[in-house]
Structure formats: C-alpha cells, structure tokens
C-alpha cells in the first residue's frame, strides 16, 4: 500500500456522504485527537443501497458518484453511526474508501462528518491518511515523510 496523503488538520466542517478522491482500491485512516468539539461520524454502505435500496437507480454502481447527491433519507437503512465518539480520547476510524469498479477487490463505504456545535475558538485536530492498494509493480511510494508527520506541531487549517 502506498500513501496517497498524510496530513493533520484542524477542521470543523460538515460533509455530505462521500468517498475521498483516491485510488480505486483505497483506505482512509482518520486519527482523532481529544477535542471539546462534539462531532459525529456516519458510514453508509453504498453496495447495500445499490442492491436493496428503494428508489435507487438500477445502474447506480455503473454511474457511481463519489458524493451522494440524492435525498440522504434514501440511505437511511444502510447507515451506521460510529459510537461512542468520546471527546477526551485518541481514536482511529479506519474506513474502506474504495470505489465500485467492476474489477474491485474490496468494498468501500461512504462517510459523513457532522459537527454538532462548531466553535472556531477551539481546535479539533484530525490526522488523515489515505493509502492506495496497488499491485507491487505499480507501487511507487510517494515522497511522504512519516517522521515529519509524527513529530510536527504544524496543523493545516
């Protein structure tokens, strides 16, 4: 597996259900540091939606969009809320971020972040790593400095 990105940022942004822009077979590791900001994380199984969802387009996977733009209530039966999401602990959520290509090896899920009550005076630090799963002959490790990621005190906004 090769790094697609490895960053740490201070973010209080709500997102729609989506997969991140990375390789066809990719994995997202979110590392949450303790924060007073209440947040929630939801995962939605788009394969189950594609196969079992009411009112889903018959060619949903073929015309897959990385962002779920339809009425989110359609996804309701296929959503899991990650819990408990403690405020004072260090947490990793590791998510399959793959897209539904025909020759897929593993199945991805959408994720969605919700900030319960934003307060920009406080910080909410999330370490974000995406890795792509590639055959070894295509495996060109990019210039990611792991030591710098571990030791830095810099936080992107």
């Amino acid at each position: 597996m090769t790094y697609h990105w490895l960053v740490r940022f201070d973010q209080q942004v709500n997102t729609p259900y989506h997969i991140d822009n990375a390789g066809d077979q990719s994995f997202l590791m979110l590392g949450y540091e303790p924060s007073e900001i209440d947040s929630e994380l939801y995962l939605a199984d788009y394969f189950k939606y594609a196969n079992e969802g009411e009112a889903r387009p018959t060619d949903y996977l073929k015309n897959f969009s990385p962002v779920f733009i339809s009425d989110e209530s359609l996804l309701a039966p296929f959503i899991t809320k990650v819990k408990p999401f403690e405020k004072d602990t260090y947490k990793i959520v590791f998510i399959n971020n793959s897209n539904p290509k025909l020759d897929r090896e593993t199945l991805g899920v959408f994720h969605r972040a919700r900030i319960v009550k934003p307060d920009l005076i406080k910080s909410r630090i999330v370490n974000s790593m995406i890795m792509n799963m590639l055959p070894e002959d295509e495996n060109s490790e990019s210039e990611i400095n792991e030591k710098e990621f571990i030791m830095t005190d810099v936080i992107s906004k």
Binding site: R8, F94, E105, T106, V109, N127
Partner: protein
C-alpha cells in the same frame, strides 16, 4: 473497540477482517479507541505503524 494494549499485529488483523471485505456482511470500517494515556506523537506513530503492518498483508495478498 477499546484498545488496552497496543499490539499493532492484532489491531491490523482486526482491520483486515472488518475493512478488507468483499461482501456487505462486513462493516467496511473499524473504530479504535486508544484512551487518554498516550500523547499526540505516540498516536501518530501508531497510525504509521498500522499502515506498515497493513501493507505487509496487502503485499502478500495481491502478488
């Protein structure tokens, strides 16, 4: 899952079983809580170590 003892091999195995699935009976994600008794540097080190351990598995699998 609450992590009481950081054993990267065991954590990676748990990730592989639940996240690398090819059927929808697996959740596609895992939630790992490392508690309060580590610092940010240790935490980021765990993330990097976990990536390395997962890479060993995928290298073996897709060759």
């Amino acid at each position: 899952m609450e992590i009481k003892e950081v054993n990267i091999e065991n954590i990676a195995q748990y990730c592989i079983e639940n996240v690398f699935g090819t059927t929808t009976d697996k959740s596609g994600f895992v939630h790992l809580d490392f508690g309060k008794d580590i610092d940010s540097y240790q935490f980021r080190g765990i993330m990097v170590d976990l990536k390395k351990e997962l890479s060993k598995y995928t290298t073996k699998t897709i060759q």
